[in-house]
């Protein structure tokens, strides 16, 4: 607690810290990074993200960058895209990757899990209609496999199809012929990834130390 008071002149951080659960030091580091990325501007645009050197190798770069500009990831019931984000949004998106605290009730764990999965789900569901359709899924899979270079596009499509088919068989089971599989809804998504340990894995170590200088 002493550490908190020892950071005077950062009253805006305390709100943010409360909202996102980051410590002041972490917010400080992230702020530095934010400034570095935005070239000391107040907002970040997509171009700024595209400049990040290491990110260039990432096959799903677009999805990730879009996730930063997706309103759904800032607010509970936001919608649509924005063109630029401020520091607050930046930190809020980052906070999806905060490690869970050690002592959590089952309820909190479930909540964290939902939030994290929601983030992933939103990355798939580009048109924001609450379902991942086959087309959306194919797109993601194609992107995902595009960098591996060895898999052909056709194969990527086949894989997406197979995955979708599998999803349908798991989540719905038997269907009448006149029934309709719309795509993966969030509830299905939750159910499908039931055995998928996410609350502890979808985490990043946010250091209190400043390592930004090491990154290009």
């Amino acid at each position: 607690m002493g550490a908190l008071q020892s950071l005077p002149g950062r009253p805006e951080y305390s709100d943010l810290a409360e909202k996102t659960g980051f410590s002041f030091e972490q917010i400080g580091v992230l702020h530095k990074r934010f400034k570095q990325l935005s070239h000391n501007e107040e907002t970040l645009r997509r171009d700024h993200f595209n400049e990040i050197h290491d990110l260039a190798f990432n096959p799903i770069r677009t999805q990730i960058i879009e996730a930063f500009f997706d309103r759904r990831n800032f607010h509970q019931d936001g919608e649509g895209k924005v063109q630029e984000i401020g520091f607050e949004e930046f930190v809020v998106v980052m906070s999806h990757f905060r490690p869970p605290s050690v002592h959590m009730t089952e309820e909190q764990r479930e909540k964290t899990r939902r939030e994290k999965l929601r983030f992933l789900f939103n990355m798939h569901d580009t048109d924001n209609d609450g379902t991942i359709t086959l087309e959306e899924y194919r797109h993601v899979v194609e992107e995902l496999l595009s960098r591996s270079g060895t898999l052909e596009k056709e194969t990527a499509k086949c894989i997406a199809d197979a995955a979708m088919l599998e999803v349908a068989s798991i989540s719905v089971g038997h269907m009448e012929p006149d029934e309709f599989y719309e795509g993966i809804t969030f509830e299905h998504f939750l159910k499908l990834l039931d055995g998928f340990e996410i609350e502890s894995r979808m985490t990043i170590r946010f250091l209190n130390m400043d390592t930004t200088t090491l990154c290009k």
Binding site: L30, R33, Q36, F49, I52, D54, L55, N58, P59, I60, R61, I64, F97, V102, L120, M123, T133, L134, E135, V140, L144, T150, L151, E154, T155, C158, I159, D161, A162, A163, M164, L165, E166, A168, S169, G173, H174, E176, P177, D178, F180, Y181, E182, G183, L192, L193, G195, F196, E197, I198, S200, R201, M202, T203, I204, R205, F206, T211, T212, C215
Partner: protein, 848 residues
């Protein structure tokens, strides 16, 4: 009842075997007094005793040459006996559910040892360090390394190293010092053991044993992280143990007065040399194996052997250089697994996998049995209550203290802290095993007077941990509700999400400017893909590296296997026509399109999206077939079927030309073919998926168990309009095929196509003739038609019933053509062959 009989029977077998053995060993024993050469008492006089010894008076037809083969015979017999023990144990599941197999094997060892003791009055067989370290341990370790879950291992490497290095040192030091303290305090009576010797004893007792840990944890099935920490620790602490053991052994030889700071520094240095040197040797051998398997294409038969030989060589090389042999083998396995799997032929990979398991499991069994047998020996039983009980107590307590303390430190840095329950299990999983016993056996009796006491204590600690902790582990795990291992069948979606998710993590680290695990991993991966794979991996194998592709591959294989199993269940190809087939086509269309089918087709292909969810089922086509009983034609048909299969399946499948050849083992594995099968299967899956979703699928109700199974295939949402109509006319195609085959019942490949509409599980390798590829697209169906008709010839009597609605058929045919013209999907080209024309009146000619 049956099991107990079986049990008695095997006991009898044992008694006989052991009787034979003990007789044999009595003979052998007259010649040998030392017992350090083999599993069995080896006779060193085997050579002298043949027929050279006595003058031959007459030509003997049969001679008794026991002494020629004593040693290998005994080894083989012991292996057999040990494995039979396992067989008996594993046939009693209600016992193994309570008592772990390793504990039972030790108990069997007691029994066997007792029998030998009873017969010989001296223990002639025991586990010697040489046999254990050079012949039994390497394969267990190699297996552990080769099947190591790499990602899990390296993610937790930090924690594992902390436990393995600091934990082991702590165990050794605390145990040695405490025992020494108790000795000074007079709790043990009169023992000739100095401080250094206590520390030496502590160091050999310190190491958690990989063999015991695998044996117990495999049955408990705790979650991955917990398992890898205990297991990884047990593997990596070998480096520490070897160093500690050697250092203290050296100190004991030097004597207390000679030890100064320089010696201690040397000891510390030797730790790094031994540990890193061993790892480096392993890595070198791992690279060598990987490189070697790149070029073994032409000697596929012995390809798997390289892994074993090189793995063993890595062990021996490290041992030769007095480095950590276990570390060497582990890293060799860890490094080469990826490249070996990619480079070698699939069969070889399977062979390696199974052979590895056979060796590892087999030698593990032998180790435990011999641990039991070794106990029944009067010489080593030197009882000292204080020493033994205190050792057991300290081993247990210090393990707990060490684990809890180290975890407390680690948890401050771990992203996902280890919970209290995990720590309990980790402490409890600190099993000591054959390594401790083997090391104790290596002690020099001249330097350490109480060697036998130490061996005896080591054995007791092993029994306590393996038997007692082994038995209580499972209830404890259940009671504490430890997270169990997840059912490890990842779905494709999960794999994809996983991949996506890893990329996301890397990206977020990049964006946030943090250097974390993910950052490092992605950098390593980049390096690995760019350099190592290029050097160590066949270019053709690189593609298969993708894990997603692997799952995809697995799915396809599963499909194929299910299909074959299903077919076999119904009795090979015969099931085709034994079923009474009732086909019932019902098309469900949107009501507005229902008046005229052809029109509708056309409309749809012109781009009317059929999204309306209100669908009236309109049975437009209803073909009902009735039972054809065709008993007379089975024989001729079998021939036909084979002929047809020969013609239409891939030619080179399973053509083993010489069954006796040792090197000819070629099964066609053409890259293209595999690829093609994949694509086709996927298409089939998609078709059923989409058509089902459309609800226009001709709902084929065929009384096949298989069909019912397939009908469960879910229906999904289709993608685009083109796709949509495309799928529609796909269905028509099916229906046509179905109806055609419906009345051409004897048509041998019928079941393949008849199961198409539901076709979720279908391997197109088996229906290759249905979907000719581009190259085959020449009037293949025509040829097929000819063939078909020729097939039908012998079964003409069965043709009594003509197609019930030929008009329907024709209409469908028309339909197909009309839709086809508008269809723009390029896929269709290779996908939709011209329809196999229904041939209601087969030509009478038969060119059989």
């Amino acid at each position: 009842m049956a099991t107990s009989w079986l049990f008695k029977f095997f006991l009898c077998v044992f008694l006989m075997a052991c009787g034979g053995l003990s007789l044999a060993s009595e003979e052998a024993e007259t010649q040998n007094t030392q017992r350090d050469t083999g599993t069995g008492s080896s006779s060193n006089a085997t050579g002298d005793f043949g027929h050279g010894a006595r003058p031959i008076t007459t030509l003997r037809i049969v001679t008794w040459k026991w002494h020629h083969i004593t040693a290998p015979y005994l080894v083989a017999l012991w292996i057999l006996v040990a494995w039979l023990c396992k067989l008996i144990i594993e046939s009693n599941h209600h016992v193994t559910n309570i008592i772990p197999e390793s504990a039972l094997l030790i108990c069997f060892g007691f029994m066997l040892g007792g029998m030998i003791w009873g017969a010989d009055k001296v223990q002639t067989f025991m586990l010697t360090p040489t046999v254990f370290f050079y012949f039994l341990l390497p394969q267990v370790i190699l297996d552990a390394g080769y099947h190591m879950p790499n990602k899990l291992f390296f993610t937790n490497l930090g924690a594992i190293l902390v436990y393995a290095v600091i934990g082991t040192c702590w165990n050794a030091a605390s145990l040695g010092l405490s025992l020494w303290g108790c000795h000074m305090g007079g709790l043990m009576g009169d023992l000739d053991i100095g401080l250094l010797q206590y520390l030496l004893f502590g160091s050999l007792m310190a190491a958690v044993d990989p063999v015991a840990v695998i044996a117990v944890f495999e049955q408990v099935q705790v979650n991955g992280v917990l398992f890898i920490i205990v297991f990884g620790e047990s593997l990596l602490n070998d480096g520490v143990t070897v160093v500690l053991f050697n250092v203290f052994d050296g100190f004991v030889s030097l004597g207390g007065s000679q030890i100064d700071a320089a010696q201690i520094v040397k000891g510390v240095v030797s730790f790094f040399v031994v540990a890193f040197g061993g790892s480096l040797v392993g890595i070198a051998f791992g690279l060598l194996i990987s490189l070697l398997t790149r070029f073994t294409k032409n000697i596929q038969i012995i390809e798997p052997g390289f892994i074993f030989v090189m793995g063993y060589l890595s062990y021996l090389t490290a041992e030769m250089l007095s480095l950590s042999a276990i570390l060497s083998t582990v890293f060799c396995g860890v490094l080469c697994q990826k490249y070996v799997r990619a480079n070698m032929h699939e069969n070889s990979v399977q062979t390696v996998k199974y052979a590895m398991k056979v060796f590892a499991n087999g030698s593990e069994t032998i180790i435990f049995v011999f641990l039991g047998i070794s106990a029944i020996d009067k010489i080593i039983w030197v009882w000292n209550t204080g020493f033994i009980l205190l050792t057991v107590f300290f081993v247990f307590v210090y393990r707990f203290i060490g684990v809890f303390f180290l975890t407390w430190i680690l948890n401050r840095y771990r992203l996902v802290p280890l919970e209290f329950i995990d720590q309990v299990i980790m402490s409890y999983g600190g099993l000591r095993g054959a390594v401790a016993y083997g090391l104790a056996g290596m002690l020099d009796e001249n330097k350490i007077k109480e060697k036998n006491l130490m061996v005896c204590t080591a054995l007791i600690v092993v029994y306590c941990t393996v038997i007692w902790q082994g038995i209580t582990m499972k209830p404890l795990v259940t009671w504490l509700k430890v997270k169990r291992a997840e059912v490890n069948e990842l779905t494709l979606l999960e794999k994809m999400t996983n991949k996506m998710f890893n990329h996301t993590l890397v990206a977020i680290e990049d964006i946030s400017g943090q250097i974390g695990h993910n950052y490092l991993r992605s950098k390593w991966k980049y390096f690995e893909e760019k350099w190592m794979s290029r050097i160590l991996m066949k270019p053709s194998a690189m593609k298969k590296q993708d894990e997603v592709f692997n799952v995809f591959h697995q799915l396809n294989l599963k499909d194929a296997m299910e299909y074959v199993a299903e077919a076999e269940r119904r009795g090979s190809l015969e099931f085709i026509r034994k079923e009474s087939v009732v086909i019932n086509f019902r098309k469900r269309f949107e009501s507005e399109y229902s008046e005229d089918m052809p029109d509708m087709r056309a409309n749809m292909s012109n781009g009317h999206r059929a999204t309306s969810t209100t669908r009236d089922p309109i049975p437009s086509v209803s073909v009902e077939m009735h039972k054809h009983t065709m008993k007379a034609m089975t024989e001729a048909e079998a021939v036909n079927a084979h002929h047809l299969l020969d013609q239409h399946l891939y030619k080179s499948r399973n053509q083993h030309r010489h069954g006796f050849s040792r090197s000819d083992f070629i099964i066609n594995k053409d890259e293209k073919e595999v690829q093609e099968i994949f694509k086709r299967t996927m298409k089939n899956r998609m078709e059923s998926f989409q058509s089902a979703k459309m609800g226009v699928s001709p709902k084929t109700v065929i009384k096949h168990a298989k069909m019912e199974h397939q009908q469960k295939m879910p229906k999904g949402k289709s993608i685009s309009q083109t796709k949509l109509c495309y799928s529609c006319d796909e269905d028509f195609e099916f229906s046509e095929g179905d109806s055609a085959s419906g009345y051409d019942l004897p048509y041998p490949s019928f079941p393949m196509r008849d199961s198409r509409p539901g076709g979720g599980i279908e391997n197109s390798a088996f229906v290759s003739d249905l979907y000719p590829t581009d190259s085959l697209q020449t009037p293949d169906w025509l040829a097929e038609g000819e063939l078909d008709s020729s097939m039908m010839a012998p079964s003409l009597p069965g043709q009594a019933s003509p197609p019930s609605s030929p008009i329907e058929m024709r209409r469908l045919g028309l339909l197909r053509i009309s839709t086809r013209s508008t269809d723009t999907k390029q896929m269709n080209n290779d996908q939709l062959p011209p329809p196999p024309r229904p041939s209601p009146s087969p030509p009478p000619s038969s060119h059989m």
